[in-house]
């Protein structure tokens, strides 16, 4: 949430006074469009008739300041600076076919449209934030399910997206390194399931990306990596395996994804299931 304190630290439009105040203020911007809207509002000008030279100069000053303060200036801020410079140069050029009535499209038109579009959603976001949020302003009477859901039903403590991302990293690392694939020996998901569970019998938990390094590097073909990944998904489905990730202070999953054997009844039934896979 934007606290009133953060947003209250105003920067004078004419320049830069207290560096500290600026640092606070700059971090309060949600990107170049947000910064531009702020400058336009401060300058009290009509958004459809932006004095582009003036606003561009102020914008550049802000971005330069961000550099000086060692703030991480995202590429999008620089891209916008370039866009402003381009519009400014277009404004200085005499319109093509000078003398005719029609002066051609306003070079600012596209930027104005983007600013207005962003402003709509920025306001919508503010309205969302002002609602009575459950867990912040109002709290629900919610009786938890009496029986904890069985291991099969419980969602993973890690999102599928995060898991796929991690697997993509594994694949990316493997390409170009020892891709012999000389043996035409078929790789079975079942064998990989056994290998994964064996590895987990030796230690309590393993980092997800390490589990792909069970075999010597020359044997790590793409097919083997994919079979191992499918084996992990299958073991999760069979409730033999738990995939999880730590939480940071904000309750957002963070850090490496890890695997461990599932506990509780049914944790050993996977062997029977594996036996049935042909």
């Amino acid at each position: 949430m934007t606290s009133p304190g953060t947003m209250g630290a105003e920067l004078r439009p004419d320049g830069v006074s207290a560096a500290n105040a600026c640092a606070i203020k700059l971090q309060a911007f949600e990107g170049p469009l947000d910064l531009l809207l702020h400058l336009i509002k401060l300058a009290e000008v009509d958004i459809t008739d932006i004095p582009i030279a003036e606003i561009a100069a102020q914008y550049t000053e802000y971005v330069g300041l961000m550099h000086e303060l060692d703030l991480d200036v995202a590429g999008e801020y620089l891209l916008m600076a370039a866009t402003l410079a381009w519009i400014k140069s277009r404004m200085l050029l005499p319109p093509e076919g000078a003398g005719e009535e029609d002066e051609g499209p306003d070079p600012r038109a596209e930027l104005v449209a983007r600013l207005l579009e962003y402003q709509r959603y920025k306001e919508a976001a503010e309205q969302l934030g002002e609602r009575s949020l459950e867990g912040r302003d109002v709290f629900a009477a919610r009786t938890p399910e009496l029986e904890p859901p069985s291991e099969e039903e419980r969602p993973l403590a890690v999102s599928l997206v995060a898991l796929l991302e991690a697997f993509r990293r594994v694949l990316a690392r493997s390409t170009g390194s020892g891709r012999h694939e000389v043996t035409a020996e078929p790789i079975h998901v079942r064998d990989r399931m056994l290998a994964v569970m064996e590895a987990l019998a030796r230690c309590e938990s393993i980092e997800f990306e390490r589990i792909f390094e069970l075999e010597p590097e020359r044997a790590r073909s793409r097919a083997l990596l994919i079979a191992t990944f499918l084996a992990i998904l299958e073991l999760v489905r069979l409730a033999a395996l738990r995939v999880y990730q730590g939480l940071d202070d904000d309750g957002v999953p963070a850090g490496p994804i890890r695997l461990r054997r599932a506990e509780g009844p049914g944790a050993d039934e996977w062997t029977a299931a594996v036996a049935e896979i042909t």
Partner: protein, 213 residues
């Protein structure tokens, strides 16, 4: 069974439910109660709580009904829930707003509106089950599509997506005095949930967030 008896059962069901409970579900459980009756009883309960000055009220969220503490007690409940407070950054709110109004939407479309990269914030919103992946767009690259979840409706106290206030039109933004954002939605969106139950929530988003089981 008399009406008063039915009303107490309805009250018990709303109190003891693991998630917002629909009028339909209540009608299935309470003998001799139609969906319409259930709604009428829920509205009566809401009025009772108000008249008696109770610390809670009935909300209509995510297509169902739920008892929630009144906003004026927030500061005390925050102390109780200190462990895991709900925090939504401006980046998170802006991203949610774009998705909520334009869903299903690709990451590139969100970034075009906000003018910044949204990778990290999208991931965090997916993990918190406020957004879900709603398939792919059938264009080259098959980009993933994002949509809001049932949890989103719960957190923001919305009965259904249609309950979102309409976006301001461009013309309005250009009108004189358009600098000031419109009045905030009544913080007593609670009021809407407390009194008059609206239409059946058929259209409401009920898909659970994308999860891997």
């Amino acid at each position: 069974m008399d009406r008063e008896g039915q009303k107490r059962i309805v009250e018990a069901l709303v109190l003891g439910a693991p998630e917002p409970v629909t009028a339909q579900k209540i009608a299935e459980i309470v003998p001799g109660l139609e969906t319409e009756d259930a709604r009428a009883l829920l509205a009566e309960l809401g009025r009772e709580y108000e008249e008696q000055g109770r610390a809670f009220e009935i909300w209509e969220v995510a297509g169902g009904y739920q008892l929630r503490t009144r906003a004026e007690y927030a500061s005390y409940l925050r102390l109780l829930h200190r462990e895991r407070p709900l925090r939504l950054s401006r980046a998170a709110l802006e991203t949610l707003a774009v998705v909520a109004y334009r869903q299903p939407v690709t990451r590139a479309e969100i970034e075009a509106v906000r003018g910044v990269e949204v990778d990290a914030v999208l991931k965090s919103l997916l993990d918190r089950q406020l957004l879900r992946i709603a398939g792919h767009r059938e264009v080259p690259g098959r980009p993933m599509l994002y949509a809001t979840t049932r949890r989103f409706l719960e957190v923001f106290g919305l009965g259904r997506l249609d309950d979102l206030p309409t976006l301001r039109e461009m013309e309005e933004l250009l009108a004189p005095g358009a600098d000031e954002p419109g009045p905030p939605p009544p913080a007593s969106a609670a009021g809407a949930g407390a009194g008059e139950p609206g239409d059946e929530a058929e259209g409401a988003e009920t898909e659970p967030a994308a999860e891997l089981h």
